[in-house]
């Protein structure tokens, strides 16, 4: 097997906040082969965005930030590169789609300019060639009348249309890895599916590896090869998306799956919600961080941190736990 496109090795991102140090990403390891798709799922505040931005290299070591571990893209460690080296990768090897299309476009720039600028910068295209390519890209992401749209300003476009432009921007220089951080959270439900389908088909067509970040397992199912479930800065379970769905082993994954609304359920049946609050990341619980909310927690859970063994970080993975409690 060839070396993976992306290798994340024991990545930790620590912020110095006014209220004390906070480890937002706590020892995450991932690999992703070329063309593969990975979903990252977890509650709000579990560190998904910080993980995405640290992988991207947008969050690096600084006065209030410490990053340890390694992120290797095609063998090059993003966090060991110079700022120039990182800039050369951004857009061409690894690109990002942000959550809110309302704010990720510059209100004073035309749609076409958003696209042609990075083409001219990275690819050295002429003004005319960049314009032609920009229109092609708009067509690629399914924007009707691309020539006319290229001359418009972001506020003249609908939310879904804008997110398509943001995706086109990310794709402009053929990245090998695309990180999409909740690309549909800010959109209408009907538009969400279109955008996700678009991302999926583009990833297949362009043979692009994708990391799809979402707080909703339903978004990720059926669209990703593998999934990693995050809780309080750590990956608590990972595996083939199909397997995790069919047979979740971590109690948190199980609870997440049970809380997905189902079409076949009675329309008024209550969704089983996960009880309790997400942990305070400034002062996380000792032992298993899910223990205060876990239905299967035992004394051992509160003192001993479960390691990620066989892709699950739990002392009593579900099948086994069910036997114990049965």
């Amino acid at each position: 097997m060839t070396a993976p496109l992306l290798e994340v090795d024991d990545l930790r991102t620590r912020f110095l906040t006014p209220r004390g140090p906070m480890v937002a990403v706590d020892g995450v390891s991932l690999t992703l082969a070329a063309g593969e798709t990975l979903g990252i799922v977890g509650e709000s505040g579990s560190g998904k965005s910080v993980l995405g931005r640290t992988i991207m290299g947008l969050i690096t070591n600084g006065p209030t930030t410490t990053v340890t571990g390694a992120v290797r893209v095609d063998g090059a460690d993003i966090h060991q590169l110079t700022p120039q080296g990182r800039r050369a990768l951004w857009g061409t090897k690894i690109a990002m789609v942000f959550q809110d299309p309302m704010t990720s476009l510059n209100p004073t720039k035309r749609v076409g300019t958003h696209l042609s600028e990075s083409l001219r910068f990275h690819r050295g295209l002429s003004r005319g060639a960049a314009r032609t390519r920009a229109v092609e890209l708009l067509k690629l992401v399914g924007i009707p009348e691309p020539e006319r749209r290229a001359g418009q300003y972001p506020h003249e476009l609908s939310g879904g249309m804008r997110q398509r432009v943001v995706i086109a921007m990310a794709l402009a220089c053929d990245p090998k890895l695309l990180i999409a951080d909740e690309p549909t959270t800010a959109l209408d439900v009907t538009v969400q599916k279109q955008i996700l389908d678009l991302l999926q088909s583009l990833a297949e067509r362009l043979q692009m590896a994708t990391i799809l970040i979402s707080h909703d397992l339903g978004t990720v199912s059926g669209r990703t090869d593998r999934v990693a479930v995050m809780y309080a800065g750590r990956v608590v379970e990972s595996g083939e998306t199909r397997d995790v769905f069919a047979q979740p082993r971590h109690p948190y994954s199980g609870a997440l799956i049970e809380s997905i609304p189902r079409l076949d359920a009675a329309s008024h049946s209550l969704l089983p919600a996960i009880v309790g609050q997400p942990p305070n990341m400034l002062n996380p619980p000792s032992g298993c961080r899910f223990a205060p909310r876990c239905a299967f927690a035992q004394d051992r859970c509160r003192t001993e941190t479960p390691a990620l063994v066989d892709d699950v970080a739990c002392h009593f993975p579900l099948t086994q736990a069910l036997e114990v409690h049965a």
């Binding site: 990720s104 720039k109 910068f121 990275h122």
Partner: protein
């Protein structure tokens, strides 16, 4: 005339039909009103026809008629949102700009050289139908010509000072707002110390060491505009810098210089330009005050300030037009810049920018 065109909407029926068809009657009446108002103002300005009190009444009536028929005409032609004072301001600034640009080729009386005005009446009152439509001063120099040439120095000084202040202040403010930290602290100390010096004292101090030439006065006045520009540019930059489009540009490989120029500058520009327009009006007044105090451009070279200063002593009582003519120019211009700047600011207020 359809009454609703002139009457304010009754409170119980606030929705005046917005899109009324053009009524030919209103059109004709308002144009006639405009013509009549111009005639009334011209007549009242001429000493030959009425006694002083009546002249004032006719002039006031003329202005009122002009406002009423002007807005009626504007609403007819450009829809109910027509803003007369804004377009009046734009028209005044355009007219003044044209007069200033083409002054040497316009049939004005003598504005500078007393030797050429020996045959002219002195302290002549305004008479629109004479060779000196706005009258003459103590030396027989033509007040219309002097007001236009005075506008030249006033506008050149004010605009130059604002441009210098905007470029320098805007650049400093953007850099401070973008890089923050120690850069921002240094800039903060710089702007606060500039603000701590009372502007008039700063100007008088500079005026005593610098020769009163257009360039020097513009430089001195630009110091007044810098702190305000720094603050606005800094605040606007800080508003936009954390927006996702800046991160997105970075994530596509844009350098910091590129982000400053291509992402932030266009967003900072609009509010800055609006403030700059308002500042022009402030600097026109500041320049006039300096000239009035004898610290600016020296007579006989005209500026509005030193023209107003010619009314010192009993001159104003005997010949009010010596002060009123340049005073009106000053007032109208300041008013116009303020109004246009305010309108621009409301339109481009960073807080109300729609995304």
């Amino acid at each position: 005339m359809s009454e609703t065109a002139l009457l304010p909407a009754a409170p119980e029926a606030p929705a005046v039909p917005a899109a009324r068809g053009r009524s030919a009657r209103v059109l004709v009446l308002s144009i006639a009103g405009l013509v009549a108002s111009v005639a009334m103002i011209l007549l009242s300005a001429s000493p030959d026809y009425f006694v002083t009190t009546l002249r004032l009444v006719v002039a006031a009536a003329g202005v009122a008629l002009m406002v009423v028929s002007g807005s009626a005409l504007g609403r007819q032609l450009f829809g109910p949102a027509f803003d007369l004072s804004f377009w009046f301001s734009v028209a005044w600034l355009l007219l003044l700009g044209l007069a200033v640009t083409f002054a040497p080729w316009l049939p004005f009386g003598e504005h500078l050289d007393v030797a050429n005005s020996l045959d002219q009446p002195i302290n002549a009152s305004p008479d629109p139908f004479s060779a000196n439509p706005l009258g003459t001063n103590l030396f027989g120099l033509d007040l219309l010509a002097r007001s236009v040439y005075g506008a030249r120095s006033s506008l050149v000084i004010a605009v130059t000072a604002v441009v210098i202040g905007t470029v320098i202040g805007g650049a400093i403010g953007m850099v401070a707002g973008y890089f923050q930290k120690s850069v921002d602290r240094v800039v903060g100390i710089f702007t606060n110390s500039l603000l701590a010096v009372p502007p008039l004292i700063l100007l008088i101090a500079l005026a005593t060491v610098l020769e009163p030439r257009i360039r020097n006065i513009a430089f001195a006045l630009s110091l007044l505009t810098i702190p305000g520009m720094v603050r606005l540019a800094r605040a606007t930059t800080m508003l936009y810098a954390p927006r996702e489009f800046v991160v997105a540009a970075r994530a596509l490989g844009a350098t910091r210089v590129r982000i400053l120029f291509r992402e932030l500058l266009p967003n900072v520009l609009l509010p800055i330009v609006s403030l700059a327009i308002v500042m022009i009006s402030i600097l026109i007044v500041a320049e006039a005050s300096l000239s009035f105090l004898g610290l600016g451009i020296e007579p006989p070279e005209p500026t509005w300030g030193n023209m107003i200063a010619e009314g010192e002593g009993t001159v104003f009582e005997d010949h009010p037009h010596i002060v009123l003519v340049p005073g009106t120019f000053l007032f109208l211009t300041v008013f116009a810049f303020n109004l246009v700047g305010e309108k621009a600011r409301r339109r481009w207020d960073p807080r109300s920018v729609k995304l």
